[in-house]
Amino acid sequence: MNIEMVDGPGGVVVLRPAGRLNMVAAPAVREAVNSIVDSGRSRIAVDLSGVDFIDSSGLGALISGLKSTRQAGGDLRIAGANDQVKLVLSLTNLERVLTPYDTVENAYGDA
């Protein structure tokens, strides 16, 4: 999976995975988050507007990122989720820890 990484507002790093976030693609998301945290930055927004499907492996990668960023004093937030992603977040109760924001700007609107 090709994951675009750009600087967002307020020092947030924006990750833009694209396509299907499944067991094939999930390791790349974990690695991208780990490389950001290793570089000393820990506020990440994952822009899911290019993701058309997520499964439990993809969710696992996001939870892994949530834990590693928080341990480093930051956070991982998600934006732009489509209906399938929202359905899966809801069925797994993960919307409680991975709130789907409309846009990356809104995700860190409180910052």
Binding site: N22, M23, D55, Q84, L87, L91, N93, V97
Partner: protein, 141 residues
């Protein structure tokens, strides 16, 4: 008009086949079954990819390729999926599969499947693992 019925099957060996092979198959099926509602598509797609991932993870255990077959039958009432593989007999607990703690990084697949379809059954037939999923269709407006 004749009742709509679509029946398609894909066979693959993993590796090199993977969940994307199964996903591409399903995308083709939806082109033919144009009346299936969005919520039914999402639910079946998610359930099937979770099941395929589960089957394929077990395939990795001894490094040898695993042959699997994915079949879908869509009629006016329901969408039925049958998955067969030649892997080791499954030890997968389906009944009572519960969502793990919020910070768990795995273990949600089977609970997701049971939340997305109406029936899930597992059996061993002729030395194969056989999974059957069925979801009643949500009427479209």
């Amino acid at each position: 008009m004749m009742p709509e019925s679509v029946s398609r099957t894909v066979r693959l060996t993993t590796p090199p086949g993977d969940v994307n092979t199964v996903h591409d198959f399903l995308v083709d099926v939806w082109h033919e079954a144009s009346t299936v509602s969005e919520i039914d598509r999402m639910s079946i797609e998610t359930a099937l990819i979770e099941l395929a991932a589960n089957v394929m993870q077990h395939a990795d255990s001894d490094g040898a390729g695993l042959a699997c077959e994915f079949a879908i039958v869509i009629d006016d009432e329901a969408i039925a999926i049958t998955v067969r593989d030649t892997g080791e007999p499954g030890e997968i607990q389906l009944v009572g599969a519960e969502m793990p703690e919020l910070d768990a990084e795995s273990g949600r697949g089977l609970a997701l499947i049971t939340a997305l379809v109406d029936d899930v059954a597992y059996s061993q037939e002729d030395g194969n693992n056989v999974w059957r999923l069925r979801r009643s269709r949500v009427a479209t407006a």
